[in-house]
Amino acid sequence: MHISLIREHSEKNRTPRTLWVTFELGRPLGVPNDADFQRRVVKAALKLLESADGPIIADYSEDAPAARDRGDDEEPWVCPISLGPPSDTPGDESMDAKLSREMARLAPWHDLAVRKTERSTVGSSGLEMPDAAAFVLSFLSGEIPESPIDGARVDRALKWACDDIKAYYYEAMLAQPGAPTSGDLDAWFFGETTAGSVFFDLQKVLLRNADETFQLVGKQYLIPRLQQHWSPLD
């Protein structure tokens, strides 16, 4: 049985048994930390095994509570902590210093997240967060550094380091009061944080690189399409 997030794709590839769900991309079981909801989805998929006539596409009847977007009548989510610079910070503070300060402010929240959930999805690169940040920042000069990961190409190491930085920020924010949607988190990371600014700067550097591999990373693997508006490409 296949849980499908896009009905139009399943109509083309004709998987024998498909349960189409209306959930957000990235959440095939619908709702995190809701075992009853997830169990109903799995059981609906399993029920398709009772039929030997296919291909079948069954439309799942339950919608997940809004995960990405807020309703018009809901209060907007705001980041509950200030990540801005102290008042005595020099105006020409380096990007390195800004990023270090921001990560230091998030560190207690990320520690709390790990204690609460007993897990972290940070770890694709295997780099400690300061090392991941230093590696990503080193690209901004325009020079391509050596890969800090044994046996891994530098473009792949860069992608994994960026994934880790983003996961670190999101997990820290999920430990705080409030219930941000995925859209809130994306808008906060790419629209408000220094790390988000670094990602946009990195994208511009990679797109100028002569090597198509790095151009591809800049074009496809850093900035979600829905967040590019914060720093549109020419």
Binding site: M1, H2, I3, S4, L5, R7, H9, K12, N13, R14, T15, P16, R17, T22, F23, E24, L25, G26, R27, P28, L29, P32, N33, A35, Q38, R39, V42, K43, A45, L46, K47, L49, E50, S51, D53, G54, A64, A66, A67, R68, T117, T121, V122, S124, R153, R156, K159, W160, K166, A167, Y170, E171, S182, L216, V217, Q220, Y221, L222, R225, L226
Partner: protein, 153 residues
Amino acid sequence: MVRLADVPTPDRTFLENMPIPEIEDAPCVAGPPLKERRVAIVTTAGLTAREDARFAMGSSDYRVIPADVDANRLVMSHASINYDRSGFQRDVNVVFPIDRLRELADDGVIGSVANFHYSFMGATDAATLEPAAAQLAGLLKKDAVDAVLLTPV
């Protein structure tokens, strides 16, 4: 609620134009009752155990996830950045519902949970996955699996 028509551009444009293999042959065979079925998860979420090699952009291979895995130690190295990961960051089961399968086996709804589950990285030309998929079919048979739950992201 998310339907393709409701997805904002440019994501909708991308998804509408994504090449999808059109498969004519759609085998749909009968099998034993659900309470006797042995179920495996095959996900295209790019999950790996922390100790395993990560997926690279364009990977067409797969990773094995043993049934006794501590699912909280799985990491995601999917190439795409255009889907939500915060659900997975909150709860691995929203992508890889291993705890739900264990519960359904304990309750007698399904027969058992497979010894091995499998992970691909879905942002890949589907045609390049065929050799690995054929190999996987053999492995699933050896594990006596007769039902597979496919989960995308």
